[in-house]
């Protein structure tokens, strides 16, 4: 039950875009059509699903204070957590590379559709952000970390698809010239964020 709670919470309450502003760059740049944003959303969810548990294992068995005791008792006071940024980003960059090669080999159609977005996921703040939040929250086991990664990805995907759907219709509306494009996208996201504040405090 706790895990299910975490899943719902990571999609709606702790939404990557509306609550933490992570991954905004590609969110604003790509959300012009529903089709491409769905593709990017799937890719981000997939990468999060892999990197969060891998980084969880890395954090638990290598980086945390006393994490190295499985190697030797005398390492109990070793604290490598200052290295976490550089190791997390290295894991993320290499995972994205692997995912890219796998997708290219087994699903060429999807690969062609995602194009440039796949390699760019490595520098999407939402990916590194999820790993850093995972480290901060001290999840009990790797299953919870996986569920958190999946939920964050789905939340991000939902937000980008929703904004793309609204933007597709915005073309036919009269918007003040200086607000066109970027400005109205910001204000729209703000309004959607206010709506999502309604999910705060929900528990199952």
């Amino acid at each position: 039950m706790e895990t299910f709670n975490l899943f719902i919470k990571s999609i709606f309450v702790d939404n990557m875009i509306f609550a933490y502003f992570l991954g905004m760059c590609s969110y604003l740049a790509v959300s012009k059509t529903v089709k491409t944003s769905t593709g990017l959303g799937i890719a981000v969810t997939f990468v999060l699903l892999i990197t969060v548990p891998v980084n969880y294992l890395l954090d638990t068995y290598v980086l945390r204070e006393g994490a190295l005791t499985w190697l030797n008792e005398s390492f109990a006071s070793v604290d490598l957590s200052f290295l976490s940024f550089i190791l997390f980003i290295a894991i993320i960059a290499s995972m994205v590379q692997i995912v890219e090669m796998v997708v290219e080999r087994f699903a060429p159609a999807l690969y062609a559709q995602l194009g440039i977005f796949l390699p760019l996921i490595a520098v999407n703040c939402a990916i590194l952000g999820a790993s850093l939040f995972m480290q901060q929250r001290n999840f009990a086991n790797v299953g919870q970390a996986t569920v958190y990664g999946l939920g964050s990805g789905l939340g991000w995907m939902m937000a980008i698809v929703a904004l793309a759907a609204v933007r597709e219709h915005l073309k036919y509306n009269k918007i003040p010239a200086p607000l066109k494009g970027l400005g109205i996208a910001f204000i729209l996201t703000g309004l959607m964020g206010m709506a999502f504040m309604g999910f705060m405090g929900i528990k199952f």
Partner: protein, 206 residues
């Protein structure tokens, strides 16, 4: 200083602003702006990291194989961010706690990758340094403007000091609690873009 260099340094403050014109580095720009102080610290940290990573990549630009350049850039940036984080943790512990994961997220701040790819890979170290400082300042400027309005209207204070006099509250004035919530950061940035594009008509989208 030659006119070109001046343009490199001061262009990003308005015409080529990284946040509101090039749409880079928005993620962290919004999250730290509920108060002025963390926004300032974040701005300074990003300026330092952009400037020095620009210099390092510019010095290495002829030796990095282009296929693996993204990983090289990420490692250089991550190393600089770790240094900044350790310094903040040592000398400004309270602000370090407030910024929490957003310091680490400087690594994936699009301003860094954007400037490294677009400028440092093709220009000398000194120009790259100026470009980094300029873009860092442009980023800081937006952060400070957003944080100014959010802290003033949201908690009636600036840098932690109460600005709005008590007599206002006695007369029925209220702090707008919504300003501290995340969504208002987006709306404030939207308004900044509105004002900025009304003044610079050539930036408007069709």
């Amino acid at each position: 200083m030659s006119p070109e260099r001046k343009d490199i340094l001061f262009g990003p403050l308005s015409k080529n602003n990284p946040v509101i014109v090039l749409v880079l580095g928005i993620c962290s720009a919004l999250a730290v702006t509920a108060q002025l102080k963390p926004a300032l610290v974040m701005g300074v940290s990003v300026t330092v990291v952009v400037a020095f990573s620009n210099v390092i990549i510019s010095l290495l630009r002829n030796t990095i194989p282009s296929r693996i350049r993204i990983i090289v850039q990420l490692v250089v940036v991550a190393a600089l961010v770790i240094i900044v984080e350790q310094i903040l943790k040592a000398y400004a512990y309270e602000v370090w706690g407030q910024l929490s994961v957003y310091i680490g997220l400087i690594i994936t701040n699009c301003i860094l990758m954007g400037r490294l790819e677009a400028f440092a890979l093709g220009n000398g170290p000194f120009d790259s340094f100026l470009d980094g400082i300029g873009n860092g300042l442009g980023y800081t400027a937006i952060l400070v403007i957003v944080a100014f309005f959010r802290e003033l209207l949201g908690s009636g204070a600036l840098l932690g000091f109460h600005i709005i006099p008590q007599s206002f509250y006695d007369a029925g004035y209220m702090n707008n609690g919504l300003m501290i919530m995340p969504p208002m950061a987006l709306v404030v940035v939207g308004c900044i873009i509105w004002v900025h594009r009304s003044m610079n008509k050539d930036l408007q989208e069709k």
